[in-house]
Symmetry: C2
Subunit: 318 residues, 2 copies
């Protein structure tokens, strides 16, 4: 069975043709050019849908799933005020895509799509329930409970980046001061690294990024750590420790002990995960130690596309 997965971003629209057994058949990326307004972007999405459909040989894809920013309606049709999309207010994406392409279409928020993709094709496949964290510019979250998305009362559950670990901690771009995103979101992590590096002006990382801290990628910190750079190690350990405290909060609320971590920052791998595991174990109530695991999602950004396509490939009741 074939489905089409679309990952709608402010800069790029990614598309894929997905087989429910084999995963991604073909994938690609086109520019969103969101500045041209809503109608233009809807046309771009349709271009992506038709391009994905074009990769199918004999079989017709059964539908389209879209991972989108913004607030998604409970029935998975409508997107409200996605950030970085000028001219969007409330858009029935499902209807617009159907009108333009003929395909049935469902929408889900991008973090939930990543979790669905991990659950069906990735590291989450082995777990009936898990918490998915996507560590990127921000920290995205989703909850899979008994193989289904846990969506809360209105579909807005799992704003896990905004879970507070220190109520008088640093500000981020949300009102949840001291949320985990303010410690481990890519922008905050890089800025923190450069602040620390200021005290180590001979450190090669400082020389490279002092004028443009926002260009420092988690991979730069990871590579430096691998080469024994003490400051990079310290920065990643400190971020990992904070992540561990946030994980304690997720587990104490949900009693779901499998944590799957994807996104760019997760490429800093064991330098973050090991301190996170240690910090979490130091604060978790004892009965929750059993079965606790932090797992890296190896499929990278593909989970978003796979999860989006799963919206088309499955009857999802939740």
């Amino acid at each position: 069975m074939l489905g089409i997965g679309i990952d709608l971003g402010g800069t790029n629209i990614k598309g894929a043709l997905v087989d429910d057994k084999k995963g991604i058949i073909e994938k690609f990326s086109i520019l969103t050019e969101a500045d041209n307004g809503c109608d233009y972007v809807l046309d771009r999405i349709s271009v992506a849908v038709m391009r994905a459909a074009g990769f199918a040989d004999n079989e017709k894809p059964i539908g389209v799933g879209i991972g989108s920013p913004g607030i998604i309606s409970w029935d998975r049709t409508t997107v409200s005020t996605p950030p970085n999309f000028p001219g969007w207010d409330v858009v029935d994406l499902s209807k617009e895509v159907k009108k333009r392409t003929g395909f049935d279409c469902r929408v889900e928020n991008d973090a939930n799509c990543a979790a669905l993709g991990s659950s069906r094709f990735g590291a989450g496949k082995d777990f009936k329930s898990f918490v998915m964290l996507t560590l990127g510019t921000g920290v995205g979250g989703a909850i899979i409970y008994n193989n289904k998305l846990f969506r809360g009362d209105t579909g807005g559950a799992a704003e896990l980046g905004h879970v507070i670990i220190n109520y008088h901690g640093p500000e981020s771009n949300s009102p949840s001061r001291g949320g985990i995103e303010a410690y481990i979101g890519q922008r905050f992590l890089s800025r923190y690294a450069v602040d620390i590096l200021r005290r180590h002006p001979n450190n090669p990382l400082y020389k490279k990024f002092k004028s443009e801290p926002e260009k420092m990628e988690p991979l730069d910190l990871f590579n430096a750590a691998e080469n024994g750079n003490e400051v990079a190690i310290q920065v990643l350990e400190s971020a990992g420790e904070k992540l561990g405290y946030a994980i304690v909060n997720y587990i104490h609320v949900l009693d779901i002990r499998k944590i799957v971590v994807g996104g760019g920052v997760s490429n800093a791998g064991h330098w973050i995960f090991e301190p996170a595991r240690k910090a979490a174990l130091s604060r978790l109530l004892e009965p929750f130690h059993d079965g606790f695991e932090i797992v890296h999602e190896p499929l990278g950004n593909d989970v978003g596309l796979l999860g989006a396509a799963s919206l088309a490939l499955e009857v999802i009741n939740d």
Copy 2:
């Protein structure tokens, strides 16, 4: 329909005969005398069950539900290592009660029973989903989602007192340093109050409790606050503010925006709730403001008995 609710505590065993429409018909309390060991306590529970049954006129109760401390098995039969019960290890309470009384019996942890009771008979009746907080010596938590208990992977969900709001905050009697219980659990609240009062030796509360801070009840703080005692007001406001941050965490994870608060500390009422509401609104992401509510559970400890009886009165699938 009649059911028997039992609330098993380290000091008292409370019992009630409950009608599924009318609520509590008759209730009572007997001593647990837990020091006499497991068999003795099982006999005491049976005494309570038979006494409750004795209040029924023509109709036979259909079964027994027990709210218990300790870890409860997923199938609601067995209790493991309840604190303050010497000589208990793993006890199939369901089987033991059936053997002694002839009644079918199911067990659930006490915080979950309180939430069930509130959901069926109390402030939670109006809400399909809500978070229940029981503010007492510790902070108990439970989650009702779509009218059912959300139990997590093993039945241990909603350890809400151990959700961290400041990872380098105060210690409590758990490894979750800086958990909300360390700020608002009765013991910690009283100790904090006396610490503040030391700087105000003429304050009537200081005079009364300086040698025995643990005797200070939330009601003492409430009454003092009502009489304009500035220190009492400050202590309750500070505790309420912390509670607000914890509530932000529950809502950002669950997207469940109704918070029902019971337990002894909740009797300090608006002196805690109003600062909690204010602090939560200052940190909640904007979409979660809509429908957010903190509600006092007016039924007090009765919700535990009502919820326990509900285990007998309903087919509960979760």
